[in-house]
Symmetry: C2
């Protein structure tokens, strides 16, 4: 820290220089992110509630009401009539709260959790924290967890099963209904990680896979407004089917306006809750259907383009993710990167994976296909 402060002008000038080095969603080159440019009203709302701290919600009852309404909207969307929850730092904290509730509900000394091989890496962190042994269940040919494999992984130490509705790598939707049957049969907690898919699947026309509280065994769902919800970071979301789950994760506070806290994070950006609220109100279901519809359209355009150019799709896309491979995918990924495209190369599937977020417009998809064609011709 320098001895004396700088002028506002020079601070802003330095910030502008740094801003130039960053990528920006608007340039359409970011094809590897599950976050996107927040909706204009998300930004406006964030600015209005900039000071707000939901970790001390007695001071900010207006913001607390906004959070409550966002949670209610998510609960209704995901068929959780009595569901309760919070907006948290992100999917990792949301998944943590779910598995913490599951672990604390059990008395098992060496608890295990059954995870699809495709589960998000946040579960690696969480298992490490909570001393949970992860037991990985294999996938079927569509990269969805195989229920027979899940069943094989169950032991007397199993305290939870996780399913994913929209995997981060390939957008696969696990057969939650089948997993639920297993969870109910063995009396095991079932958590659904719909961090990404929870605000995609309900808005896709003529596509109604069952993945939410409609399914009896589902006890909690992660669903992040700061991904496809177009809210500002940090707006992850956790929903519990029933309020009594909260007793398993509460901590007493000593000096705050709230006497207990349920989230892991203490101080919480109320502005992010306001941002989520603003987008929900501004878009409504119809608005999200339009946003998601456009993403799906561009995904199909890309998928067809890849096949036309002779690339192989890893799997037929259902959500707004598409992955493909060539004879030498890794080298292709490097060439695309050299042309300024930010894509993910997934070594475990030897593929290039693209997330078609709302900031990817048709013209960006077309430009990507053109560059791809050009690279292959060389």
């Amino acid at each position: 820290m320098q001895p004396k402060g700088l002028s506002t002008k020079s601070v802003l000038a330095e910030l502008k220089n740094m801003q130039r080095i960053d990528q920006h969603y608007d340039n359409g080159k970011i094809l590897c992110s599950m976050c996107t440019k927040p909706h204009p009203l998300a930004k406006k709302a964030y600015e209005m509630f900039f000071e707000s701290n939901l970790g001390d919600s007695g001071l900010f009852p207006g913001t607390a009401l906004l959070e409550k309404e966002v949670i209610q909207a998510l609960a209704t969307l995901l068929h959780g009539e009595k569901a309760v929850g919070f907006l948290v730092s992100g999917g990792t904290e949301a998944n943590l709260m779910a598995l913490l509730a599951a672990r604390n509900a059990s008395k098992i000394e060496h608890p295990e959790v059954v995870l699809p091989q495709s589960a998000h890496f946040s579960f690696t962190k969480i298992c490490n924290l909570l001393n949970l042994k992860p037991v990985y269940a294999g996938l079927d040919s569509s990269f969805r967890v195989d229920p027979t494999e899940v069943k094989k992984c169950i032991s007397k130490n199993t305290i939870a099963i996780v399913g994913t509705a929209g995997t981060a790598e390939l957008g696969a939707i696990d057969p939650i209904d089948k997993i639920s049957e297993i969870a109910l049969r063995y009396g095991v907690y079932l958590h659904v990680d719909a961090a990404f898919g929870g605000l995609v699947i309900p808005f896709i026309k003529d596509f109604k896979p069952n993945f939410d509280f409609n399914i009896e065994g589902v006890k909690s769902i992660t669903v992040d407004p700061h991904k496809m919800g177009m809210a500002a970071i940090p707006a992850g979301g956790i929903l519990f089917k029933e309020a009594n789950a909260l007793d398993l994760i509460k901590t007493e506070t000593l000096y705050l306006t709230d006497r207990v806290q349920y989230t892991f994070v203490g101080t919480r950006a109320g502005a992010a809750a306001a941002s989520a609220w603003a987008v929900f109100k501004a878009l409504g279901k119809a608005g999200y259907q339009k946003v998601v519809g456009d993403c799906i359209k561009n995904t199909k355009l890309l998928a067809e383009g890849f096949e036309k150019q002779g690339f192989k799709l890893v799997v037929e896309p259902t959500l707004n993710l598409v992955a493909f491979r060539s004879a030498n995918t890794k080298s292709l990924a490097e060439k695309l990167r050299a042309k300024g495209w930010f894509i993910s190369y997934l070594s475990r599937y030897d593929c290039i994976r693209i997330v078609v977020m709302p900031h990817i417009k048709k013209r960006h998809a077309v430009a990507f296909l053109e560059d791809l064609c050009q690279i292959e011709k060389l």
Copy 2:
């Protein structure tokens, strides 16, 4: 979620209604918060870097550089020549990362952590998550942890000791140098929670308690720019004395621009890092000395006022926190609350505790003393 979106105008009108219900730091009535109104440049910087995600820092190398510079500034301030670290969601995540490193470094089956009785409640959450047994050490008459008590709490299962530099309740600074001797003697990890004090103590004139990396045994420090640093939420901070601690907490990612992640939270608000950077640059050491100096002045004004009115201070304030009691403190707290003052009543010390943050101006302190006087006269 309603079927159709609302107009921008009506969304903003509803948000304004909610904003009116919230308290605002500017009104000077919030005397119970360790957060404050962010510096104007913190807000400006936040808006500039609104999209940025440090959980995928390859996309945002400019923001990543800002974070690095904030961490370097904090490291220098706290005498950590080789210290490394991150801006995280808050003090809770920062404390978690420290105790996770300590736990993962040990091979002890039933690990214990020695905590001052005054440790922040986030450690209750963390011990629950990490399966650490908290062993509480008693305090001395100044509410600082008693090193003799700490020593008594050490067992063969102890993996870490925590000390606090600026407790949340009374602003006490534990004798970190003495605790360090114990930590070194028993080969135990020492973490300092300076979430609040880390950006206060270095800026107080003629007051140099030793609490940071100057002390040999200190392995990590929590220090939150979103508290007295006047940065925007979420800007907690964690510093590790040496980079090799990071190996103990890393997780591999599968599809991000970063191959490993050290923070608990995945997606991270880069805008908060930019906000911290902007305040550090705008204020410099001299600016923080002025801010902290004013807070301390107002704290003294309040403390003297309380004593003049016949109240008893719980302890002579060293930082910008002051706590007092009367014959019936709880009832007094309720009367102050009825007059619109937000103060904390701490049942375990039967006192009213006030945090004199930068948003508390002299006129607010004077008005509070006047109301207090009036209540007592009735």
